[in-house]
């Protein structure tokens, strides 16, 4: 019973969406499908809450048991509530609270703390890439050599200084790179990969609809 009902639900929901694709607009099937999609968006939205609750729980437990780094976890908890609680009030109540743009605590914290932090975390990757370029990117096989040479040419062609350098050679190298590498070889391979991946995703979806694939339900 604990498995049968979910499998039947997935089957009906999935098959209805598939079949509705072949129906014309304005039929009852289309309306039911639309309501299904809205429901799916609402139910799925609660998975975001799942993340919030589980992170709060894990951090609280760490602090309560004074495990390693517990003082830092207090900072995390404080940050969660400082950001989260003002957002629960309607902005009509006080412009400071709520999520309105440009005025609220929520928006301010996002713009002046969260956004710069997130973009800095990823900016660090540029340093790592440079270090990896020196240590790890070796022409250890014919394939890797081909990869590195293409990479260098593409890196040159995508920046003004490199383009100026490539243009010193005869035969308009940057146009050739754009036409035959990016729109030729790269495009063709990406297309092959896209087709393969699409077949994989479709086959996974089919198995989910039919209840053959049940890993997502967890252990029974």
């Amino acid at each position: 019973m604990r498995t049968t009902i979910p499998v039947i639900v997935a089957f009906i929901a999935g098959l209805l969406v598939v079949v509705s694709f072949f129906f014309r607009d304005g039929t009852i099937v289309g309306d039911v499908k639309q309501e299904f999609l809205v429901w799916s968006s609402i139910i799925g939205g609660f998975t975001l809450l799942l993340g919030v609750v589980s992170i709060v729980r894990v951090n609280m437990a760490t602090v309560a048991r004074k495990k390693t780094d517990w003082p830092y976890k207090i900072l995390t908890l404080v940050a969660i509530f400082v950001m989260g609680i003002p957002a629960l009030f309607p902005s009509s109540w006080s412009p400071l609270l709520g999520t309105a743009s440009g005025t609220s605590v929520y928006d301010w914290l996002f713009e002046y703390m969260q956004k710069p932090m997130m973009s800095t975390m990823f900016a660090i990757l540029a340093f790592y890439i440079a270090s990896a370029a020196y240590r790890a990117f070796r022409a250890r096989s014919a394939e890797a050599t081909l990869l590195l040479i293409t990479a260098i040419l593409v890196m040159l062609y995508r920046v003004p200084m490199g383009e100026a350098f490539l243009n010193m050679f005869p035969g308009n190298i940057s146009e050739i790179l754009n036409k035959y590498i990016m729109n030729g070889v790269n495009m063709a391979v990406q297309r092959g990969i896209i087709i393969g991946a699409a077949l994989g995703a479709a086959s996974m979806s089919l198995r989910i609809i039919l209840g053959i694939e049940r890993t997502y339900l967890g252990k029974s």
Binding site: T99, M161, Q190
Partner: protein, 278 residues
């Protein structure tokens, strides 16, 4: 220990320092270089240029705050172009972390520059969970998926949304993405509803999107900061991305140099150790 062996074991922090220098110097001594326009950027610009003035357009903020450096210049350049043509702009996002806030801020800032009114000239729908269901659901009715705008105003109170009921009322979609959501705009919205889509993606995503440009599922493509710089040049407003391209040049040259140096070291050391073994 030979020079190359020592070089092999160099502390990585020296390399970090070299990168820092390479990226900072161009800002201190700016030397503008010409930027050529790729055919993909050109065709995106032409497609937007060919839109009738005042038509309804969607601008989609499908990027995380992590990639603002690449994506925001694209979104800004697109809004310059669209507001200049008096297009009505509907924005939305599929990104739960910060998407609605960025859509709100960037659009409001640009709208203020062009004297546009919220609700009449532009609307921010915000975020709803489940990009696949959101994209599919808007085909029949935007209002059923987004009953209100981002700040909770019912769509019926926003005059612009009277004329935008579903995809058939949208003339063009400008998708700015740093992740695979762009793929679903192609496979769901373009394939089933036929709305033309132009894409600005991060450089990491761009190579894949060439396949969609070739098949006509994207009308054009801007790849990362370079793509933004090209679009800035096309609309004649040279902004942050154009300035960034000089630093980009320097760091690329440094990285190419490091790859070459690393490989020379690799082969020299390998030769030496072979000799030593023999």
């Amino acid at each position: 220990m030979s020079f190359w062996q020592k070089m092999e074991q160099i502390d990585r922090r020296w390399i970090y320092l070299a990168v820092a220098v390479a990226v900072v110097v161009p800002f201190l001594f700016p030397t503008p270089l010409p930027i050529s326009i790729s055919p993909e950027a050109r065709s995106l610009y032409d497609a937007v240029e060919a839109l009738p003035d005042g038509c309804n357009v969607m601008v989609v903020y499908d990027y995380y705050p992590a990639t603002v450096a690449e994506c925001e210049p694209i979104a800004v350049a697109a809004l310059h172009h669209l507001f200049r043509k008096n297009c009505k702009v509907v924005t939305l996002t599929n990104i739960p972390y910060g998407g609605p806030s960025m859509a709100e801020r960037v659009t409001r800032r640009m709208a203020a520059r062009y004297g546009k009114t919220y609700g009449v000239d532009y609307v921010n729908l915000g975020f709803k969970y489940g990009y696949v269901t959101v994209l599919a659901g808007m085909g029949q009715s935007i209002e059923s998926i987004f009953p209100t705008d981002n700040s909770g105003t019912p769509l019926s109170q926003l005059p612009l949304m009277d004329s935008v009921k579903n995809y058939s009322d949208v003339s063009f979609i400008f998708e700015v993405a740093d992740n695979a959501t762009a793929d679903y705009w192609v496979s769901i919205v373009n394939a089933q509803y036929g709305v033309p889509i132009g894409c600005g993606g991060t450089a990491v995503q761009a190579p894949k999107f060439y396949a969609y440009v070739a098949s006509g599922q994207f009308v054009g493509l801007l790849g990362g900061m370079r793509g933004a710089a090209e679009y800035e040049k096309l609309i004649g407003i040279e902004d942050v991305a154009t300035v960034g391209m000089q630093a980009q040049s320097m760091v690329h040259l440094l990285i190419i140099g490091l790859v070459v140096l690393g490989n020379i070291g690799y082969f020299v050391v390998r030769k030496q150790s072979k000799k030593g073994a023999a």
